[in-house]
Assembly symmetry: C2
């Protein structure tokens, strides 16, 4: 459970970094699934424009039992419920590979802009938990955020009109900030890159401005991202919805499982 101070920090800055949320055995379990989930081809898998290696995979919590267990752990679900003030479900789940030297840039963006305009999400009453499967440092493409930018509402962006849903996942995003908007948003706030050991979790608001550089290090920087939405904030119908593996329409309150489930009995938990 979050402390009052942590809740206040999240509300003020739009994010909070929690160290040591997962231990080494749990991280081993999670990382042990990566070769399989990165290896499976399909529209849910996105590759880097330059190298063709995997950039990320989407929705694998529905097919992989270990990641299925991950999104249901009380240590993630309870803070999400507390911060959103409601029962939650998983709107989106992805694993960003950001592999050594080939992981490319993520332009500055707000998740909610995509969720509103592409998925019909009524309000930004949603957040993401970024689980650091590797150590995140200055050189391997840390997430950069603009503290407090979640309070501005939805920023004006450059829009790539020719973009389909695939461009909502690629290095050149459909909606990204131009330099004037970024200058305005960072004025008096600056930029912060929360860093930490593997096992840390970054909770961030759906309207928080964020982006990241390429990975310049010889080490991977893989993170799992669980986006929780309030059950009351269920998606409206939209004409041309993104696939279920990107924007879920199962608006059912998530049932938590045992917090020891990831490593219990050494076997994956049924999702």
């Amino acid at each position: 459970m979050l402390t009052g101070e942590q809740i206040q920090l999240f509300e003020q800055d739009g994010y909070i970094l929690l160290p040591e949320v997962f231990d080494e055995a749990e991280l081993d379990k999670l990382r042990g699934e990566l070769p399989e989930v990165f290896g499976e081809a399909g529209p849910h898998r996105v590759v880097e424009a330059e190298s063709g290696v995997v950039r990320g995979v989407h929705g694998v919590h529905e097919t992989n039992p270990v990641f299925g267990a991950l999104v249901r752990l009380p240590r993630l679900v309870e803070p999400a419920r507390r911060l959103l003030g409601d029962d939650v479900y998983v709107h989106q789940f992805k694993i960003n590979a950001k592999l050594a030297l080939v992981g490319e840039v993520w332009e500055w963006h707000q998740d909610y802009r995509f969720w509103r305009d592409e998925d019909g999400m009524p309000s930004p009453r949603a957040l993401s938990a970024a689980i650091f499967l590797d150590r995140v440092d200055e050189f391997n493409g840390p997430l950069m955020v603009v503290p407090g930018s979640h309070e501005d509402g939805v920023h004006e962006t450059t829009v790539r009109d020719d973009a389909g849903w695939a461009e909502t996942l690629a290095a050149k995003l459909k909606y990204s900030l131009n330099v004037e908007a970024l200058a305005h948003a960072t004025s008096g706030r600056g930029i912060v890159a929360p860093k930490g050991e593997a096992g840390s979790v970054l909770l961030f608001h759906s309207n928080l401005l964020h982006g990241s550089t390429p990975n310049m290090s010889p080490s991977n920087r893989t993170i799992a991202l669980v986006s929780y939405n309030s059950v009351e904030n269920r998606l409206n119908e939209v004409p041309d919805p993104r696939p279920e593996f990107i924007a879920s329409r199962k608006f059912v309150p998530l049932m938590t499982i045992d917090d020891e489930a990831l490593v219990a009995n050494g076997s994956p938990v049924s999702a």
Copy 2:
């Protein structure tokens, strides 16, 4: 003049960061020339692959009197002479624009690899002075270096065989390190990104591994790079030399000018 300790640091780490080498009036003078030198089209000007805006300009110390004066200032030339133990000349001069949000990556490389294989430079008895025309911070694409990597000699790299001289200047370099070579080079050394206020100067060895991320900030990160070569290390003949504005063949010892010359009388100094 460098102190004994500074010389030792340079020899050990392959670089040294000197703060407050240029004052605000001098920086204003230098930055005041940028619109003109960035604006002039020609083969010496390289643009970013993605945006088409200027990435850098080469050899403008031969045409612009302010940058012509810059490369001849005793505060740059004397340290170069001292560290190389010889008279020096300007092998290469460039201004890297690295503009806000559009400045792209520089892959990991060693300058000497290019100077040896493209220009016929016999030994790595050369160095560069990076003059920070803007503040360099964590978010605007700082130069990253591997301390001590200048001692390894020339690293094995990926070579783009189809590359002409233009690809020795672009985001996808002709010679760049692969992940195994980078892991080997950084082992026990790590990576450092020297940061500092505008007016700082980073001196670095021609064999030092370096690279940089895109500029994720709303501020430009423009640096001027003067590469000094020892006069005794003059280039050999090569079959297909790069243009003079990238690899000079005027092996004449550089004459210094007055250290006040940049702002003296408020007028540019004849180059």
